[in-house]
Each structure stands twice: as structure tokens, then as C-alpha cells.
């Protein structure tokens, strides 16, 4: 399942709509890192509301996506981690790996965060 990448002003929004395979995750990562340059975006929002599981691979890929886009001049924020997903991520021991990645409750909060980061 391909993740659409939407342009919203200075930002890119990647709304994940269903469970993704590892290959899908990596394709989204490549496209975001690429599009940030092509569209001169200042921020990226990855919406994971639809994911019912975030395992070690998903977490690692989102983290590396955030680090890569930052090197390209855009801040990434992950939004929509569901309560039960947060619970199992902590149990799994995945929290430390997300420490240097920004998160926000939902799309609105993510946009507000990026506005503060890039226009403040």
C-alpha cells in the first residue's frame, strides 16, 4: 500500500492509511527525503493514526526518516500514535529509539508544532 505524499504550503504530509510492509515504509522514506528537496519543504508530518502496530522496524524507519529529512533542512513530526500502540511500544522497549524524534497528538498539533519551529 503506497503512502500518498501531500503538499500543504511549506510542509509535506504523509498520511499512512493501512498496515505497511517494510518495503512500503522504505519507499515512503525515500519519497519524503526526495520530495523535501524538490518542493523545498520546511517540515514533514507522518500521520500514523491508522497503524495498529508499530514494531521495531516501523519505529527505526520513522526515526531514520526524521534524521534524514532534518539533514535536508526539514523538521519531521510523527502524529497520531494510538494509546494502545504507545503502550505496547513502551513495553517493547522502543521509547529510547524515538527520543530524538518529535511527536504530536494529531495533525492539528503537528501543524502547530511545525509553525512554531519554522516561522517562530
Amino acid at each position: 500500500m503506497r503512502v500518498p505524499i501531500l503538499k500543504q504550503g511549506d510542509y509535506l504530509i504523509a498520511p499512512i492509511q493501512s498496515a505497511l510492509s517494510d518495503a512500503d515504509f522504505l519507499r515512503m522514506q525515500n519519497e519524503l527525503v526526495d520530495q523535501v528537496g524538490k518542493l523545498r519543504s520546511r517540515g514533514v508530518i507522518v500521520d500514523v493514526t491508522a497503524l495498529d502496530v508499530m514494531d521495531s522496524f516501523a519505529t527505526r524507519t520513522l526515526r531514520s526518516t526524521a534524521l534524514m529529512t532534518r539533514l535536508r533542512g526539514a523538521e519531521t513530526v510523527i502524529v497520531g500514535v494510538q494509546p494502545e500502540v504507545a503502550f505496547s511500544m513502551v513495553q517493547l522497549g522502543l521509547t529510547l529509539r524515538m527520543e530524538d524524534v518529535e511527536t504530536a497528538l494529531d495533525l492539528d498539533e503537528g501543524l502547530a508544532f511545525l509553525d512554531r519551529q519554522t516561522k517562530g
Binding site: A19, A23, D52, S56, E84, F87, M89, Q91
Partner: protein, 132 residues
Amino acid sequence: MADEMRVPISTDADIITARQKGRALAEWVGFSGSDLTIIASAISELARNIIEYAGHGEIIIRLAERGARRGIVIVARDDGPGIPDVALAMQDGYSTGKGLGLGLPGARRLMDEFEIVSEVGKGTTVTVGKWR
């Protein structure tokens, strides 16, 4: 729904199939909320280990009963190279692959029961269970 499901694991898409089937059986058994996510996450990590270290194997998901209690048991089985030092593999952050080294210790934390049998050159079987 059948009391037991077998999912062959050889590609990353199989990981999704395994955890969706596991989630469905867990729901049928009566698990809800974060337990469903926990069970699906454990299946994901175990299936990923099969692909990473053995190439292929299978996940067996079955209904379990112990007296009046119902639960779910997941068996992750492969005929891969086996684990020379199981105690080391159970440590957080230890990995000989490209993962985070959280698969086995993470799955143990997520589930109520955890057992691993591994023989070098023969393969690895991990059995985990969760009870209602």
C-alpha cells in the same frame, strides 16, 4: 474460526498477514484494547526474526485453554542457523542482524509466557503465550 492457524513466513508481507491473523484470533478469544496490539506486536517481532536470521519459517497461532482461562499461544519456528548463545540473544540491544536487538527480549516483556529452544544448525522455536 479455527483453533489453530499456520502462516508461512518468508517475505515482509507475511509479517503483516501473521499479525493480522493473530489479532483476529486474539479478538475471538476475547482479548481487547491494548492486549490486541501487544499480541500483534509480539508476532511482528518474532516473524521479523525468522526472516532476518533464518530466511523462512512459520508462525503458528493457537487458542489455549487452562481450566477456565483462555489464552493465545504463538509459536515461531524456523530451520535456520540457530542461536549459539541464547542468554546473550535475550539481552536488550544485542543483535547480530540489522535490527535493534529488541525482538526477543521485547516479545518476552510483551507476553505472559516465553520459551525459546534453539539448536545451532537445526533451528529455533520460540513459544509465547498470553492469558486472559
